[in-house]
Symmetry: C2
Subunit: 465 residues, 2 copies
């Protein structure tokens, strides 16, 4: 095995330009999932990936229809067999090929869908989240293939709606359960703490995302002629949003913290060792000062405590200059990040009860549920994490950090709960990659190391199983 591993690593070292050029091809497809106008790009990206899996030797490839965006599925049996080798472990490679929107597009320094190198990084929407991570995995498999048959069975679950909360994934995992059966899932959709600190994520927050709309008058009114007659929906929405937090930064919804698993003293000690202090977050965010729930460090607040954020709000006239309108409607996007053992359905009910109780009688309201993703904690010492830890150490020369992350990866929860497939969560993005924001980037040296680490990972799983 050592021979083939060395051959694969040598192939990877020699073919970086080729790997990168493939990534740039995928980046060029503007597969924004939240906007129906880009649906054709979603389909093109799925087709492109299906072709790639075939090129890598997949014996079966399918573009699975779902209630939403299609899933690209495929499998490559171990040992160049025609079907899955029952004596080898099976790794389900997860990825998503959809990306966030690019607005405000005027803040980008280069075209969002033209990968552009600056200072050793590749700038583009999806470069880090997560086309770069998907292509790191496919590149690692390409390198392994160059050295011989795969040492493990590999299957793929590449979805197209992660950025909109994976609304149809839970059902699709049930519907296609046979195709996703595996010993573990490799999910490279979480990030690193710093370029020299390879990271394994063992805790993830859930995401419950809502859109709340208030309607007062039947139409926009002149604020002079009618100001004083009716309540302004923008005021009311601000009042309601203000009431969602208390003066200590805690969410006020009754019962919101009831199921939150409190951190143990041991875990707090470990999290305190992560090299992410206030200074780190001040630099990453550029905020004048940090803020959050009293009584917790910033690492704890992000990784182990739930939050509620306004992702967007709009009402009335927002253009240049003055328009003396008293708006008829107001809308806010409100999402909560949930930690074990909070239940997104319960949080939906709490939010719903809050608005039912406190929206004033001068207006009507509705709440649209956009996504309900549960939180997750994995075992830190399972076989997958051990194989990954050794792989990361082989490349970086130091043991990886174990981290609880603030983001959400609903698929890992679904695979665990519905199919009993545990996830191994890692990734080679960095905290300053501008995910979901203008000028997203991918650090190329880190990405190349990531490909090497994934090569090790596949061999390690085969060796240790």
């Amino acid at each position: 095995m050592a021979d083939t591993r060395s051959t694969a690593l040598a192939f990877a070292a020699e073919n970086r330009a080729q790997f990168r050029s493939k990534l740039e091809e995928l980046i060029a497809i503007p597969s924004i999932s939240t906007d129906p106008e880009y649906h054709h790009a979603i389909e093109r990206a799925a087709g492109w990936l299906a072709d790639e899996l075939r090129r890598l030797g997949a014996t079966s490839v399918e573009i699975l229809p779902t209630a939403g965006k299609p899933i690209v599925w495929g499998e490559i049996p171990a040992g160049a067999a025609a079907t899955l080798d029952k004596n080898s472990p099976t790794i389900l490679v997860y990825g998503h090929y959809d990306v966030q929107p690019v607005d405000p597009v005027e803040l980008w320094h280069s075209e969002p869908f033209v990968a552009t190198e600056r200072d050793g990084a590749l700038y583009a929407r999806g470069a880090s989240d997560m086309k770069g991570q998907v292509m790191a995995t496919l590149s690692a498999l390409d390198a392994i293939r160059s050295a011989g048959p795969l040492p493990v069975n590999v299957r793929f679950l590449l979805e197209g709606e992660e950025e909109i909360g994976s609304p149809s994934l839970q059902k699709s995992i049930d519907q296609y359960a046979d195709r996703f059966a595996a010993d573990l899932c490799l999910n490279p959709d979480t990030g690193m703490i710093a370029p020299d600190l390879p990271t394994i994520t063992y805790g993830l927050r859930g995401l419950a995302y809502f859109e709340v709309r208030l309607r007062g008058p039947a139409h926009d009114l002149h604020s002079g002629i009618f100001g004083g007659a009716v309540e302004n929906p923008a005021h009311a929405l601000c009042d309601l949003i203000a009431g969602l937090h208390d003066e200590n930064g805690r969410v006020t919804l009754p019962g919101f913290y009831e199921r939150v698993r409190e951190l143990t003293a041991e875990e707090r000690d470990e999290l305190a060792r992560l090299p992410m202090d206030d200074e780190f977050y001040l630099k990453q965010t550029g905020a004048p000062r940090l803020y959050g729930e009293n009584g917790y460090t910033v690492t704890e607040r992000i990784g182990a405590r739930p939050t509620l954020e306004i992702n967007g709000i709009v009402s009335g006239f927002t253009g240049k200059g003055a328009k003396t309108v008293l708006p008829s409607t107001a809308m806010a996007k409100i999402s909560t990040r949930l930690v074990p053992d909070q239940d997104p359905g319960e949080v939906r009910d709490m939010l719903s009860a809050y608005f039912d109780a406190f929206v004033p009688p001068t207006m009507t309201h509705e709440i649209e549920v956009i996504s309900l993703g549960p939180p997750l904690i994995t075992e830190r010492d399972n076989r997958g994490n051990r194989a990954l830890a050794a792989a990361l150490e082989a490349v970086w020369g130091s043991k990886p950090m174990f981290k609880r992350e603030g983001g959400s990866v609903p698929v890992s929860t679904y695979l665990e709960r519905q199919l009993g497939v545990p996830s191994v969560l890692t990734g080679f993005g960095l905290p300053d990659d501008n995910l979901h924001a203008p000028n997203e980037k991918l650090d190329l040296p880190t990405w190349y190391r990531g490909i090497d680490a994934l090569i090790h990972f596949f061999y390690n799983v085969a060796a240790q199983w």
Copy 2:
């Protein structure tokens, strides 16, 4: 004089189609003052009006440059003289030729700048506010001219930035003081209570309009990866806005009500006689329920009490679906309607002090002053109002209503304070004209009556002076 008056009224009755067609020409020029892209239309509208004044026999016409949009000025001496007749009263006709923006344009049922008749009304931006009122006045003068020389001197002050708060008007009135000297100003920019209730407005609210911007993180952040680390500017702005009113609907800014002239028992009795009760405002606004400062009727709240409204708010992602962004900025347009004897400059200082005191240290803020228009009360029984009351009664057959209005007409305050010219405030728009909103309209039968009433007004001033 009776003969010429009858001749003029007959001319008006015969030339309605011609008057309307002129109005449609002016409407077709999209003279939106708040958007620099439409500046060419502002210039075209000014040129068009200058031509109209010449056609009506103005001996001098000028397009006066200002720091902002130009003022169309002209004069028509009484008695067909070459210069102003010192023995005749001089009426300064005020109007504005600029209009509000048309967004959201998708809610219009016909093109905003193509006057379209439905159910006896003309639908278009500016039809009521106030191209219709300007053209009613010019049509009245056209009719009077057809019957002989004008019985009074007429001057014109037609501005192009009323809809953005007349930012350069105060200076222009000083700069061109000689050209605007007059015995009274006819300002038809206020409305009627109902089609059968001609109305004279004797009180107007002032308008102080601001844009507040908060900035927290240096750029938009991922709400999972950073949620819990920083304070959300959208939350903070909502908190700040929520704090601007108390639970009784009163503005909390210290000193805000200090200079408010309280209504006398007599004035409250009179305002109570206006046929605008809760039912009326429920119908006009389509709101489920009315709302406002405790202790005042809706007519009092609109006409005689100050208000503070959010005219617009925006932060983060407001498109379709989900984007898990923690926004870096939040913006609100905040305006106050002021009553005598509040001072807009003092209100600016109060708002400024409020944000200085309460914007959290996690972010920075700035306040842009967009306009500072003072409130106004005129004498109800001056000569101009007497002439107007008789004119309205001659056409409608009933005495006009005297009203305090919620809107703002800064020019009347400036003319009174700077030149000692009192204003006569009326107009032929109706409460359901959708001013500043989609599907603005002008009721044509009311407009034709308005033209007749203005014919009477000019003759009445000449007769009663």
